[in-house]
Assembly symmetry: C2
Homo-oligomer: 429 residues x 2
């Protein structure tokens, strides 16, 4: 035998113990089931793509983080998000897809980020998007927050708020101030208001050559949190962008209510912008009220054209994304997982106390046929060691089978939490 | 805007349309649910591993097929199976795992094989293994075929046969002939008997310097299909290997019956061997009776030592693997998928015939709250186009809402298969 190699996992790659994996999968399943409840269709694109295809758009910081390599004559890259593969997929299958095309995809993506706590190089994204052929009703923008609401209600990490804004309102407002070319810089500065204070923000905006009267207007704009629609209407801004954005956010607000999202679970927040070069209408962020420091746990928005690098067809869309790996990391750090979470795959463990395993096998087979996840302990060990195994597995019930049980065709059921025991027939379980 | 890049997917990578993806996921879910029903725990290891760790054992043909590349200072490889990552995982987490450790893993693996029909470079493996700490009861070997049985019953691709053999019987038999060093070559030749005929096999064995009297014994051995245990007992071979193997296959046979596998669904087949350098006891293959040409659709076996490259602990195990991507390809090629398969994610599509979508949204929200997957059609299109969309989605029921329905707080339900319509209240649906 050769040398022993240390069995290590690369840093930046999450690899969980089974108990944590059970919980991770439970959360992922909530997301998947909710996406399906809203009628999204599954797709599963390759993790490896041709670099020319995958990087048709990418550049700068993203490109540096990409795992790119050659194999034979192929220049290959690992996907870094699920949006570019979706664009490729929709352009490729344009002729056979049924539009509006509603798809979900849950899968791993790869970015060689500098390793640090809570940053992963391999992580799950859970995405939905609705893609229109040429056009897409604004009503779709109201359904997205209702999906976020259902998911985070079920995930049960405490009270949360879905923040919505509209990129056209932002654009129109800055246009009315003659600052349309400075939006990105100005918003980046304004975003720091909670950290550095109002005075510093005013100073930084002045350094960007924003006149003092406009600075105060901007700060008022991003700070307005109550009756935002009324505030926007009173601004009396008449450029097309602003008027269109205001109209859109009114429709979205109206239908969000019809979707049954309680009023205290969403808010129009004029300070959120998301990727300004990409989103063109509604934008979303989701914050956990008790942990705003975690940032947005579910984001997305409306874009004008999904696949311009792959097709001349205009394909507007709206979508959201949940970064589940990072989310799982932070909810564990902040201990937001409920104590009563699922701890085992099996409901029952069958523990034979006899040599002939025929009857224990028949019992386990009957339970499994009833749809009960059942583990069967085969090893020849002392009784205490067998129960110790069952305890460590955190399986709620043990079925103990000794000679008496075999003779009477009965089983003894032990509640592993309370220690209570009861002897009964298989059908009575 | 720049040039249009052709949105192509690499050859050797399966990328399905949504309808096929729904079916693929349904099959994967059957496998997953069955694994969980038998109490296997989920793990999810990274797709990228350190090359030194992943390739501790590999060599030869496998190594050529590996996607290996550098990023920064790291020498990285994509996993080519789920067994090596399991070995790493068990060795790494030895101190905290509860043995016997029963895990399932379903995930993509990567091999840069020469592209050809039905061969994939990215494909799903669905694996279970039970790993013992130092020792592992032979009874586990009887549970594996019962899991194969449950899965392929539910997958419903027609009658199948689980073939089992024992590596020790093979070894002991060839040892009794003094041919223990020629097992691999001899079995490879014998395996061709159906293709090239008995005479040619006899000739090829003679070329391998196998004496004529032994050739006939070998051919009798691998051709015995009835009362195999009786035949083996009558051979009166007394070496330890053979005796142990015979004892093991008797226990496995006995308990397979207790697990409820019908007798015509399994057979001892002395001609199957699997990877001779790896398996040491029971081995499994599964063939579809009507399509033996597909080869084994689920294979596995017992091995002595899972993780010898990562630890000095002896970790015997037994496991099986289903290559789902290739399986999905062949069942489609051979049209083994039932016509009544699931065709849509949604049970219902709500089709509004009115401008104000408040009531349709409320109806969809109520259905979703009842756990019914519901799609809501938002776009402003002609009635016919809306129904055309619903038809293409193959959603079984459409709920049509016009002005009358809103006024009466009713809905009209249309069975999309029969065309029948009925107006009723939401709760009546």
């Amino acid at each position: 035998m050769g040398n022993i190699v240390e069995p290590r996992t690369l840093s930046g790659f999450m690899e969980l113990l089974p108990k944590d994996q059970i919980e991770f999968n439970r959360l992922q399943n909530i997301i998947k089931q909710t996406y399906e409840q809203f009628g999204f269709l599954p797709i599963d694109t390759p993790i490896i793509e041709d670099s020319n295809v995958l990087l048709a758009k990418a550049g700068g910081e993203t490109e540096k983080q990409i795992y790119r390599f050659e194999k034979g004559d192929n220049d290959l890259s690992l996907r870094f998000d699920l949006t570019v593969p979706l664009a490729k997929y929709v352009a490729k299958n344009y002729g056979v897809l049924n539009f509006p095309f509603r798809r979900y995809q849950i899968g791993k993506v790869y970015r060689a980020e500098r390793p640090q706590k809570g940053r992963y190089r391999e992580f799950y994204q859970c995405d939905i998007d609705v893609i229109g052929d040429g056009e897409l009703s604004i009503t779709n923008d109201a359904e997205m927050p209702s999906i976020i609401y259902q998911i985070f209600k079920r995930l049960d990490f405490g009270k949360f708020t879905i923040k919505i804004n509209n990129r056209k309102i932002l654009g129109g407002f800055f246009e009315s101030l003659g600052l349309e070319n400075q939006i990105t810089n100005v918003l980046r500065i304004v975003d720091k208001i909670d950290k550095v204070g109002k005075d510093n923000v005013e100073k930084m905006l002045a350094d960007e050559n924003v006149p003092a009267d406009k600075v105060s207007k901007i700060i008022e704009f991003v700070s307005t949190k109550e009756n935002v629609v009324g505030y926007l209407e009173n601004l009396n801004i008449s450029n097309d962008n602003f008027v269109k954005g205001l109209e859109e956010i009114k429709i979205v607000s109206k239908y969000m209510e019809a979707f049954g999202i309680p009023k205290d679970y969403y808010a129009i927040d004029l300070s959120i912008a998301r990727g300004l070069d990409y989103y063109t209408g509604t934008v979303y962020e989701t914050v956990l009220d008790e942990h705003p420091e975690l940032g947005s746990v579910c984001s997305g928005g409306r874009y004008e054209n999904l696949a311009e690098y792959y097709t001349n067809k205009k394909l507007p869309g709206v979508g959201i994304s949940i970064g589940l790996t990072r989310l799982f990391y932070v909810i564990n750090e902040y201990k937001l997982i409920k104590e009563n979470k699922q701890k085992s795959i099996s409901k029952v463990i069958v523990v034979p106390m006899i040599d002939d395993l025929t009857y224990p096998i028949e019992v386990a087979t009957k339970l499994r046929a009833k749809g009960i996840n059942t583990e069967l302990f085969f090893e020849e060990k002392a009784f205490k060691k067998k129960l110790n195994y069952a305890n460590k597995q955190e399986i709620p019930y043990a079925i103990i089978i000794g000679e008496d049980e075999v003779a009477q065709k009965m089983v003894t059921v032990k509640d592993m939490n309370t220690g209570d025991q009861k002897t009964c027939s298989i059908d009575e379980i």
